[in-house]
Symmetry: D3
Subunit: 236 residues, 6 copies
């Protein structure tokens, strides 16, 4: 992803992106039922680096496993590329943690652009204060070994019922997280910027007591003309 | 609903109202599992104006549908009476949005008293800043067309497993939303004001180290007398 | 529980305690899916005093029941020992309340160390402001009589799928609540203090750009030595 | 329960009983989501003897526990009175078994009138062939120790969200299981026999092409008269 | 629906129809999680006549309501056209019944082609023996008044998350039920007959040890030629 | 797996195997909530060959995909080794099919020992008649493309919350399916045969009116002696 696309995606909402993908026939790209672990005031944007969990078998998931330098969870943290978003398939189960503050701090230090799980994080109150966007379903204190075995890196996965392929562009805002297929990221970013301009105009109009019908979507020349004037006036 | 009743309902809690309805044999009037989209510090009160969603069939729910000036979702926003609460039956599904910030802003401008869905809103972080109470289950960025077809206005509906008839009085506080059958609104408002006076007295007493038993509910003359004095002293 | 153990447990996280219990083969001691009713900035610690609810039968759960001075819910509030945590088995159902602000205020006044339900509290916004830790799944305004009959005090119960025996030590932090079997409380508290020291050191190291592998868990002499120095320097 | 009442309850449906209790304001007496483990062609009827499970703590639920002659699950099987129905509160969790064929066989030999759990039985295919009615949610092979600790006998419990007090009369048919409060059993049995007579008459009428309206419920003299004749002719 | 279309739909599977609709972009037409109340060996086919339930409010849903000749549930049974399928939106809740054997018997006598609910039927064991197809989620003995108020006839509804418009063609087989939009019924029936011919041929081929790849779907001339010969030989 | 082990596992129940694994600390090896698609009277036994599904992205899952000879679902069917059980991770979602009768027929012809999904099969009524064991959660007619993209073969997966590694031994009976780690298969098979002998003896004893306590588990010499005699008499 080039910087320009990243910048564009920093300035648009997941809702707008969802509509842009909907136009292209993609209806299930929003990761369902995750929320920010402390909203940090700006979007999360980056290509997906994935970690897949499977159900933990007790004999393979003792605390001793973490001494193994090849443990996939730790390797994920240490190899996730700078600028990437680590996306974890935790099978939508939050009964045990997907990760905790120490690992997320390390990811932050390594330049990770963010982290998402469809499970839960332990030490969530600490993660909420870190300078890295994180999304989960709810806080969950038990160690991941209780339920989850980290089994594979950078495979296609599901996260919150959305399909995630490594390299897909992940965008999170205060509400939700969306997965943009890599080949669509640029055109969708462009379109979302355009849509956002119009939506910002619409909000102003609505605040000026205009009705929705004919304005959103635009079916009246009056609004079309006003929008062009607004764009010029606002450099949009 | 007259203004006096509205005023009374602004000053009582949903919990108190739920108990008043419970006394009348109505046990399921609280809309389950919705919460404020940003608590705005005062109750939502108004008669219900309803919108019913059904599952979306793909060929009937393309983006082009929104160009139709008769689209029921937009008509709902433009015809919901001033002072009314728009209540949406989204079949308890938040995988796609029930509405977004532009429509809710318009509803606010038109004088709507609030909005409730048993699904989720997109642009929830923006809605949280608007000057209109809103309640949902969680933020949800996908356009409503993904899952929901707006099919009917002002029919009896279910919302969060509560029965809602057009004109029923909807009251929301920081915790929950309740549906008061229209014909009971006045008497329930009166009773809730009375109950609130006693509860406020009880809280003071409890803070003064009185035990619950005999006090709440009141079965001791001592408390009865003290309450009468308290009412006089506090103009309640 | 002696004061020393209580002090130790005030200073460690539920996540750390969960790992200490995991080492002892106990994997399901975290009460699932409860959260603070307004995080109050310090841990909840105390032995469990339990209240068991069963499904309410309508003829046994009229408002008149509350006039009975032996009603188990009220007796629970009035007999929960000072310093104890009242833990309620609400069968993981939040459709009706487990308790409300008046009872929780009384519990606070009586010196209760906290309250947990795997259901929901009414008047949650008020409880959030009280000076007593409380945990639930979500706000719920209907009176408990709607769904729940308080049936027994201080029996072994389930709460959020965790086993709770009277006297077990309950610890809650900003994320979760955990149940420490009474006979393990002291040794687990000690171990958690030790673990916390190392984790605090690890966080500092990670912020200094050290990698996780070899550090957490500690498998390198370099880190072991640094930790000893850190402990001495920090009086830990 | 006297034999006459038992005989009456052998001949009526749970649906009819549910309506008779509904008339008395009891709406939640059907045990939700259980089904026969092999329907055996006749109703299960008997007073409830209860067993309560709580979540299993691993150190208290090793296989060695079963060697304890006081283990409540085994004591339940050996002390459930002849003619009684053993009702298990398994917290609606079927991930591990509530019991298996050996225990149910023993219960059968001891004269138990049946067994119900809101969890699942292991060896369900064997239990389906035994000469004792059994109801559960689904087959579940893991030993009960995995999830469930048998903790108390003959307490009031919940089963499938229905309240069950020891001695309540349990009736199961091919569809469902219902809990009749002990003090109502006789009058409800009588009423259900009456209702069944009318329902049997209605079915005949409907098969003879009569409309429902006016017939069910009966609001026309024509049907009233015909019913009286039918009763006389059929000795009902 | 003409008789020819009905005949075609009697001979194809819901799976084949689902694929035919999938080709047209319709992915959610199968009513989720319903099953036959006793499979009767032949498909259910007919246009939808709908009944919508809403959550029951206690004061509007006493047994006395059934004495009202205008009660929508009873009117539904008495006005559902001959050859139609009665489809009930029970909000996917089976805690109380959608209907029972007497009403379904009457529907059968009146020539109804079948009945579907996304709730449950009482007297299911009796309905299983009737000569009319019925589909539900599970048996449920409580009277519908407990949870459901019949509120509207022949409106567009949801059933098991599928959109149902009055007049849509409903087809049920041993596995599932599907909703074919009315305007597509004829062409989909034709296509499904064609697909079924090929699938029957494929099954024979597979039983003769042919591999799937190249055969299903057909991408090899060898299979194409063999199919033409098979059709001729089998009059398909 | 050698033939002897296979034979042993054909003769024991999943319940017995679950207990044998429980003794070894493995508590989550039963695949939750699957049932036979028509019980065929004998156990399913074989090593796991796995197929992993992920959420379907619409542009990658058109019907045209099936024309691709490399489509993993079809490759799975054509490469699953003789004697193996095909285990599908369908993410516990049955809204669309995991496979249908044609593919399962092909698997049967190729000598597959069985098939399991934690989703649902289409054409389930046909699969129920095939001579190959199959397990699923419920029938589901929509084509798998609707929800599921087949993405990987023979990876470690989750199925019904159980961990499944390729080569693990899968055993299904009339009730459930279990996953035996490959390295334990032989010893667990041996132990289960022993346990089954004792259980069969116990059943006979219980039918002869012996109490459970002291017999199951065996803590009395009387039963120990009788068992030895029984083994000799029955060649067990």
């Amino acid at each position: 992803m080039n910087n320009e696309t990243r910048e564009k995606l920093m300035g648009v909402s997941v809702a707008t992106l969802a509509t842009a993908l909907y136009k292209r026939g993609l209806r299930h790209q929003v990761i369902q039922d995750v929320r920010p672990v402390g909203w940090k005031g700006k979007n999360m944007v980056g290509p997906a680096f994935t970690l897949r969990y499977m159900p933990a078998r007790e004999d393979r998931n003792t605390l001793a496993e973490f001494r193994n330098p090849e443990h996939p969870q730790r390797v994920a943290i240490e190899t996730c590329p700078e600028g990437a978003v680590l996306v974890m398939d935790s099978r939508k189960q939050a009964e045990a943690a997907s990760a905790g503050d120490i690992l997320i701090t390390r990811l932050m230090k390594r330049g990770g652009a963010g982290v998402v799980t469809d499970g839960g994080f332990r030490d969530a109150a600490v993660i909420a204060e870190l300078d890295i966007p994180a999304y989960h379903t709810r806080p969950s204190s038990p160690t991941n070994l209780t339920n989850n075995e980290a089994i594979a890196l950078n495979e296609p996965i599901g996260c919150g019922d959305a399909p995630v392929f490594p390299g897909d562009i992940i965008v999170g805002d205060a509400d939700c997280v969306i997965v943009i297929p890599a080949h669509l990221a640029e055109e969708v970013a462009d379109e979302a910027v355009e849509m956002t301009a119009y939506e910002d105009f619409v909000v102003e109009r609505v605040k000026d007591d205009h009705a929705i019908i004919g304005l959103y979507p635009c079916t009246k020349n009056e609004h079309r003309t006003a929008f062009e004037a607004w764009r010029a006036a606002n450099n949009r």
